[in-house]
């Protein structure tokens, strides 16, 4: 008999409420702050190649973030967001996936994109909105996207990617469903991972997206980056209850909480989550607990809402240093070589900035392309009108006037 209420009736006769914090969800931690594996902890199955690719990605993003933060202060780009403190959460989760799995990110996940192979020049072209930007210079800096690398273009409205990830994952599952039984007939090739912050988890789209995935059974990994703050709002003003993870349980989703500064814990959890998605076609929620070490964005000044002491406490907990210690202990990383590589990367970044800022802005036609698959007549007419106007006043529109054909 199916129960139409879809609840288990565990009858008892004493009036009692379940406390909102009754679920005290544990946090998986494998590496200590000193980079040692905890006794009893299991190191996930990670190859040296993957571990080094992971490490190099984190290190590269840390350097890119520092440099672009500075570039913004110099007025060379309009905006930037770093992922300081969350490098392990983002990179290790991406590393546990197949490169063909779809990533649907919030905006602080540049490390996942770089892990996939997004090049330095591609980052720069987007940030400088030049004509080589895959997004054709239409969005603010850090709104990356790449079809080739299965990284869905970032959208500014928070949380919108969450129900989209459910739908996308459902699509990935469709071809593995048996026509007759409607059941999963084989393992799913690819899954979708969806990143979002604990702030975004308050949006309606979060609830809609998790519920849809749970009920419709979509192989999506919801990756909540609980980094303590949504701009200036601390987590305790964002939600009551036991974090974001407790909500996963409420929606009937398999859930785990991990130390987001521990690359091995994140890797292990994501690897296991992917396995569940692939085999059962169902979603998983991972809540990563880390601390947003940097400002929210270049438009933010955290000194207005948190103390230097609080920040200093967390500064000690560097996810990259922690993982590096483990790599060195494995004899997988040569520190001298690592330092030399850093120097080269620093130079490459400086050079890439100079190159990207000299590339021309997107052509005027890109103003009207991609609104529809082909411009509608009104749009073409508006464009002709604009062109004529610019040609009549070339001095007022110096970047485009000379390029109009």
């Amino acid at each position: 008999m199916t129960n139409p209420n879809n609840v288990s009736l565990n009858i008892h006769h004493e009036l009692s409420f379940i406390d909102g914090h009754a679920l005290n969800i544990p946090t998986l931690k494998i590496l200590s702050e000193t980079g040692d594996v905890y006794p009893g902890a299991t190191v996930p199955n990670i190859s040296q190649d993957t571990a080094l690719r992971l490490y190099r990605t984190m290190r590269f993003i840390r350097m890119l973030d520092e440099r672009m933060q500075a570039a913004q202060r110099q007025g060379r780009i309009s905006f930037y967001m770093q992922c300081l403190g969350e490098e392990a959460a983002v990179t290790a989760s991406a590393a546990a996936l197949d490169d063909d799995d779809m990533i649907m990110a919030q905006y602080r996940e540049q490390a996942a994109l770089h892990y996939r192979g997004f090049r330095l020049d591609q980052f720069m072209n987007q940030m400088f909105s030049n004509e080589l930007d895959l997004g054709k210079g239409r969005q603010m800096p850090i709104h990356y996207g790449s079809n080739e690398l299965n990284y869905m273009t970032i959208s500014s409205p928070l949380g919108t990617q969450i129900p989209q990830a459910s739908g996308h994952a459902y699509g990935q599952k469709l071809k593995h469903i048996d026509e007759k039984t409607g059941e999963l007939a084989s393992e799913i090739d690819n899954v979708t991972i969806c990143y979002f912050g604990e702030g975004a988890a308050s949006e309606g789209d979060f609830h809609a997206g998790l519920n849809m995935a749970a009920v419709l059974k979509a192989p999506v990994i919801f990756f909540a980056r609980n980094n303590g703050y949504a701009i200036s709002t601390p987590a305790d003003e964002q939600f009551a209850g036991d974090g974001i993870a407790s909500r996963g349980v409420g929606y009937g989703i398999k859930t785990i909480r991990v130390d987001g500064a521990d690359a091995l814990a994140v890797f292990a959890a994501t690897q296991a989550a992917r396995d569940i998605c692939v085999k059962t076609g169902e979603p998983v929620l991972i809540e990563s607990i880390a601390y947003r070490l940097g400002a929210h964005s270049t438009s933010d000044d955290p000194s207005g809402y948190r103390s230097k002491e609080e920040e200093a406490d967390h500064q000690l907990n560097c996810p990259i240093a922690r993982f590096k210690k483990w790599l060195v202990a494995q004899n997988w990383l040569d520190e001298a070589q690592d330092d030399a590589e850093k120097e080269t990367i620093r130079e490459q970044i400086l050079e890439a900035v100079k190159v990207a800022e000299k590339v021309e802005k997107p052509a005027l036609e890109s103003l009207i392309s991609d609104v529809y698959d082909t411009p509608i007549p009104e749009l073409s007419e508006q464009y002709e009108h604009l062109k004529a106007h610019i040609l009549a006043h070339p001095d007022a529109y110096p970047t485009t006037a000379g390029r109009i054909k």
């Binding site: 895959l134 919108t160 129900p163 989209q164 459910s166 739908g167 996308h168 979708t192 419709l216 991609d370």
Partner: protein, 325 residues
């Protein structure tokens, strides 16, 4: 050809689309086994399986968010919002996501395979929250197409075109006509081009323009006018975005007069856009001011619906005002 009502015509369009695309999906509230509250999806779950035709939880933003993701994956996606009045929880997913997916990504990704179906409009004693015509809100957003059929034949041909179109489309179905409108509909496949208006009847004194369920009203008004010797040209706009300016401009240049009628409130309704454009393009041909006969600027009422609606008599009065200006 078969006799079909509008629901059967829609069902037929969906059926053809589902059989043509093995990964096409239809979903929304109650659309599964039950076939939707209006039964537009009857029998489809039986034919195409629970994984392709399914109920969703009751969450419009979830339905549209999910639909965006599925369409971005590449599967033909047909999402139903049970009543157009309830499309607003999904507003953000439509105007910020659906409509901008292609543009913001530089065409790295798009949701061109998405069609959103939703019943709209009054005349069913539905009151405030089962009668709205929200097309104008969406018509302000570049990146989506908006289509409204007036009868079963149009509904099937236009819906097929929407599903096959490479852009996301909002398809507003006039629910008052779901069962009331019956006509000849080919059983096989055919499509009606999006973005084209149809001259339903030629005339020489005044152009009447409407879409969807309001077409019936302007046709009645034209009948009243003809009895007084006024010859009306009747045009069905069919597509709100993009809309067929050329057909309307040449009609108005010929008749010199235009009366627009829609169910939605008059202020900022889509009629306002049409009036502004036509006065720009037909200024020297206009014999009288462009008139609009629309819903009042109130929520859609219940008890006084008859008084509120832009009925044939009101349109007829406007026609007379226009020709005697």
């Amino acid at each position: 050809m078969a006799q079909m009502n509008m629901l059967q015509a829609i069902n037929s369009a969906l059926d053809i689309s589902m059989s043509e695309h093995p990964n096409a999906c239809i979903f929304g509230e109650d659309v599964g086994h039950f076939g939707g509250v209006f039964r537009a999806t009857s029998g489809l779950q039986e034919r195409y399986g629970r994984h392709r035709v399914f109920n969703t939880p009751l969450t419009e933003q979830g339905i549209l968010g999910f639909a965006n993701g599925l369409a971005a994956f590449g599967a033909p996606t047909i999402a139903e919002i049970q009543f157009a009045d309830y499309i607003f929880p999904a507003f953000d997913q439509i105007v910020n996501e659906t409509a901008k997916f292609r543009y913001r990504s530089g065409n790295e990704f798009n949701v061109g395979k998405l069609t959103i179906r939703t019943p709209y409009g009054g005349g069913i004693a539905g009151g405030l929250y089962h009668s709205q015509s929200p097309e104008a809100y969406f018509a302000h957003t570049p990146g989506i197409k908006i289509v409204v059929p007036r009868n079963p034949h149009q509904a099937k041909g236009l819906l097929r075109a929407c599903i096959e179109d490479d852009n996301p489309v909002l398809f507003f179905e006039p629910k008052r006509l779901y069962r009331a409108s019956i006509g000849e509909v080919p059983e096989g496949d055919y499509r009606i081009e999006i973005g084209t208006a149809e001259i339903v009847k030629e005339g020489k004194d005044v152009t009447l323009l409407a879409w969807g369920a309001q077409m019936e009203i302007i046709e009645q008004a034209a009948g009243l006018a003809e009895k007084e010797g006024i010859s009306c040209e009747i045009i069905d706009l069919r597509s709100i975005l993009p809309w067929d300016r050329d057909t309307l401009v040449s009609s108005v240049n010929k008749t010199g007069r235009l009366v627009i009628s829609h169910e939605a409130p008059i202020t900022n309704g889509f009629g306002a856009e049409i009036a502004a454009t036509i006065q720009q393009h037909c200024f020297l041909h206009l014999e009288s001011p462009i008139l609009r006969v629309c819903g009042m600027d109130t929520p859609y009422p219940l008890a006084l619906e008859k008084e509120y609606v832009p009925d044939a008599l009101k349109v007829f009065a406007a026609i007379k005002q226009s020709v005697t200006f």
